[in-house]
Amino acid sequence: MIISVASGKGGTGKTTIAVNLALSLKNVQFLDCDVEEPNAHLFLKPVISETISAYIPIPEIAEEKCDCCGTCQEVCAFNSIAVLPGEIRKDGTVLIFPHLCHGCGACSCLCPLGAIHEVKKEIGIVEKGFSDGIQFVHGKLNIGEAMSPPLIRQVKQHIDSMKSVIIDAPPGTSCPVIESVKGTDYCLLVTEPTPFGLNDLILAVEMLKTIGVPFGIILNRYDIGDDCVDLYARENGIPVLMKIPFDRGIASLYSKGLPIIGYKSEYDIEFKKLPEKINTLIKKSES
């Protein structure tokens, strides 16, 4: 079973839910797919045993073969190649903008002279390790690097389907989030009962419907705002799996990088019940 934890709005408690859920399960693997700002390691404190560089392929021009015909510029859908023709064809230059490159391979595949080969460009790292029996994997995007989806894909290549897998997703509803939650069996949407929380929850719900991942809501700090999220969930038949009050004790634990598990038994019980509830809902969505 692969469970993703996402949110639309940031700072609603994704990492808290993901980490405490992982601590309540046995035989579990944890993947932090928020490669721009990974935080789960601050709570799980894994011992990292393996660091793997993550690359994307980018084009390199063999100048002696290139006659600046301009095909590569024409076929690149991402404007990452500019061909500046010279007076005679061989005088020109080909400029490559690696930060725009998606690594699709169109230029090298379609170059009529075979003048383009691909080289690896590092965009970040994948780190693997262990934390109290939890197998841990996360990605760290290099500073200044724009594209996180290829790194997220490389983190997800380490999924061990023999384990219960928890995926901590980045905030928002666009490509990095979709890349993280795609292919998971269930998505927990963590939100808070404010107009911001509701607005971004609705966007996240639409996104999950589009990609076809079943989902439920976890309402964090349920007593700080109004009942807008409850009403929305009821009207749309979306299950609310857990409600956590605003608790200065939880806020304080979080600020220090400590889990909720072990703080109050009522929360321990709630987290223990969560996988079972999710299982039931997955079966229901399949039937």
Partner: protein, 295 residues
């Protein structure tokens, strides 16, 4: 006419970017506001825009396969780096990045590339001034490009209406939409919180802003929730010579101001309000001192 651009970012989500931006919008005179968090935009909920103009955001293409022409040779499946074409020759539009390679190599001409309608953006009036905002289409990509589009629209308004400032509410993270939101701004204000995640993410976003040579300041939100960590943030910023513009205390009234849908400085008058006013005054004097950048 010299217009200064200020952007509010955070690295970590949910530290209070939009709450602060809305209050700055209420305090600052003579500005245009932009919401660059295009995939989870919230600022409009506090600014109550009345939309004047609406534009389609067209960006990128998606492959579409014509089953009649397709001979199921499988070359497209092999060549696609994004696993967007299934064994059943059905294209997954979410995985397709629109590179067009499949369409170019298909010898039966069975794959066409179709332009995406990836969202829409708006120019609105608010009681605080003009406001440019957007909505990225569901499960669409290219958020960085949409950020650049709304920022350009704000610059165009500024040219016509001679405003002094552009105030930008940024997205979380350090990737493509954030880079698009901070490029060529005059001041980036990082809102952080005294948690270990807040500190960790602040460090990465400081490095990112430094990488693009954007002048940076820090605001600590809810600083009294963990004074020890706030102390750490101040030490880190001192060592990096980054000024702390303010320390906003925790207030249980913030969610209530959101429910009322008004900027905090208009919702109540307390120590949070005072700190926000002081932050704006400091931002204004920093930006006025900075050497002009004209466009």
């Amino acid at each position: 006419m010299v217009t200064k651009q200020m952007v509010i970012i955070s690295g970590k989500g949910g530290t209070g970017k939009t709450v602060l931006t809305a209050s700055l919008a209420s305090l600052a005179r003579d500005k245009v506001m932009v919401d660059c968090d295009v995939d989870a935009a919230d600022l409009h909920l506090l600014l109550h825009p009345s939309v004047k103009e609406r534009f389609e955001f067209r960006s990128g293409r998606t492959a579409r396969l014509d089953k009649e022409k397709c001979c199921e040779c499988g070359e497209c499946i092999d060549i696609c780096r994004f696993d967007a074409i299934g064994k059943d020759f059905v294209i997954d539009p979410v995985s397709c990045e629109g590179c067009g390679l499949c369409s170019r190599i298909c010898r039966y001409g069975a794959i066409a590339m179709e332009e995406n309608l990836s969202g829409e953006w708006f120019v609105s009036d608010t009681r605080y001034g003009p406001f440019v905002h957007a909505r990225l289409g569901i499960a669409e990509d290219n958020s960085g490009k949409l950020v650049s589009v709304v920022r350009q629209a704000a610059k165009d308004i500024v040219k016509k209406e001679q405003k002094s400032y552009i105030l930008i509410d940024g997205p979380p993270g350090i990737g493509c939409p954030v880079i698009a939101a901070i490029t060529d701004t005059d001041l980036a204000v990082i809102v952080t919180e005294p948690t270990i995640s807040g500190i960790h993410d602040m460090l990465r976003v400081i490095d990112m802003a430094g990488h693009f040579q954007i002048p940076t300041r820090v605001v600590i939100n809810k600083y009294d929730l963990n004074p020890e960590n706030s102390e750490k943030i101040m030490e880190i910023c001192a060592s990096k010579k980054i000024e702390i513009l303010g320390k906003i205390p925790f207030s249980a009234k913030v969610p209530r101001s959101l429910v009322k849908a008004v900027p905090y400085v208009e919702f109540t008058q307390d120590d949070v309000t005072e700190e926000m006013i002081s932050i704006w005054n400091k931002m204004e004097s920093i930006i006025q001192e900075k050497k002009s950048s004209d466009y």
